[in-house]
Assembly symmetry: C2
Homo-oligomer: 359 residues x 2
Amino acid sequence: MEIDPWSNRLIENYDKLYSEFGMKQIDEKISAKLKKNRYFRRGLVAGQRDFDLWLAAAEKGQKVAAMSGIKPSGEFHMGSKMTAEELIFLQRDFGAKVFYSIADLEANADNGLTLEEGLRNAVSNVADMLALGLDEKNSYIWLQSRETRVTNFAYLAARRTTLATMHALYGEKNLGLYFCTLTQAGDIVLPQHPDFGGKKHVVVPVGFDQDPHLRLTRDLAAKFDLIAPSSTYHVFMRSLDGNEKMSKRDPMNLLTLSDEPELAKKKVSRAFTGGRATVEEQRRIGAEYHKCVVAELENFHFEEDDKKVEERKGKCLTGAILCGECKKEVCEKIVNYLKAHQERKKKLVSKAEKLLSKE
Amino acid sequence: MEIDPWSNRLIENYDKLYSEFGMKQIDEKISAKLKKNRYFRRGLVAGQRDFDLWLAAAEKGQKVAAMSGIKPSGEFHMGSKMTAEELIFLQRDFGAKVFYSIADLEANADNGLTLEEGLRNAVSNVADMLALGLDEKNSYIWLQSRETRVTNFAYLAARRTTLATMHALYGEKNLGLYFCTLTQAGDIVLPQHPDFGGKKHVVVPVGFDQDPHLRLTRDLAAKFDLIAPSSTYHVFMRSLDGNEKMSKRDPMNLLTLSDEPELAKKKVSRAFTGGRATVEEQRRIGAEYHKCVVAELENFHFEEDDKKVEERKGKCLTGAILCGECKKEVCEKIVNYLKAHQERKKKLVSKAEKLLSKE
């Protein structure tokens, strides 16, 4: 086991994923087709498996799907937002049908949330998806706890999965988490269920830490005569203190789409930057842009214009701007974004409720 | 691990179940209330857990349930028939609502059957239940693959179950079987789901080999604030060669409710008896009644009249009857029974189909 999908640790050695685990980089040929999306354009989505095959299928006009999910253990944060926007981009620009799993069974196994608590969070999460631009008419959203096509696959897959495989992929974990990985595999292959038109190319945009799930599912797909899912890997949004990946496990270091603007302001003002010990020093040699979480927030989420990002980077590295001023500017963008998002979201909650109702 | 629920081996040492694992014997006080049922009357149901509590609740007029299930991996055999008739007896005489699980997920994990194959067998199994006298109006029958209340419980339970517990109860098994045990626990607690009126006393009639499942479920019930299920334990119907417990794993040594009368005759004529090496010897010292599978078939299944069973036993032990003659007599009873049963069953297949339709 090299990566633990349930930990907050940042991955220290990405190279091994490429050299030993068969991941490929997003090369120029691929990224040329995806320039409209800032994650791809800025190299924030950096790894892939079989994404070239997926793109080829989409370009040939075949029915393709983009699949991801969320553990409904809290509000949508800046990490989940990356996956969500990648899905929505692939839906808009490539006509991909979006499959989105609410992993309430995993939220229980991993975080102890009841299914009812999971459902409450899920409504908010789905409303966020809609506010981010998901076209629900070309989507299928489900709760694991209600989707027997997913859980049945997990049972069928369990028979063909040894404990040794589980240990190798995930280390020593409890039975519930092992079973959740098989359930995730069920989520990932659901778009290929006969009810959805059978075998097809499916891409799963995830963070690098989720790769073990993809490796497991790709092996299972072969056993069940399905097309191995493609995947893309984005780098992590870091926690506000810069120490870990952003995660619901650490709510104080999290920026969410539901944060009140005032709270967001406070959080960002305390976020870790690349500032120097003294003003004098910073003016003289510039700050450490690559260490700054505030810059990361802008670059990942709150500035579409590449030139403006580059401008700030230049000012930062040359000491032309200090952290206080910079934070104020980025904060304003964040607050404006959150206000507009929350305004949109408010009108979409009842639609989200309806999408998640048992009907 | 002392007992393996997935093996065909006969249990060699019942005492340990009582002395070390907390099982109790069915004492005179309990069996006095159950004389109408030949299994209880003849001591074939010999062990129990908290069955006194269940009886007390039933006698007080509380809503009680009797729960069991079948792995739809083949036809109903003489072992499954024991459980079925116990359920039906408790339904008739104590007003218990019957809960009956079609363990199609386990049939896949354990036997590799697809869910479609499981469903086909299930229709026949349920038709057998109806022909045996199940009142479907006071019953709930489900397929594990469609009952998320059951599978969701398995997930919730997995979080609270360590691999060490699984090893201790079941030994080294694959992930699928481990998960099936938690799914069975979900089956067993389903009668206590709010949708069925919440907490209640539930008795689970099983063979002795299934006790690990009960121990697991009783522990889980405590964790989920449910009433620990009661259970009764019947001795095994042996395979026709007398070497193992009767099991679908060994179809040549199986007598099923669907066997054509001619086939049944052939099978019984080859069954293991307690006969002596020579006629002379048998006439002189009698046969070994306790070893005879044919006698077991009569005693377990095909003769309601205790006196007639005792008569045959007497004749056998004194050498007054030889195995050939005896087999012929028992065979006739079996054939008559099967003919009548199959006649009844034929008319109930479409009702079984309806009970198992997705509606």
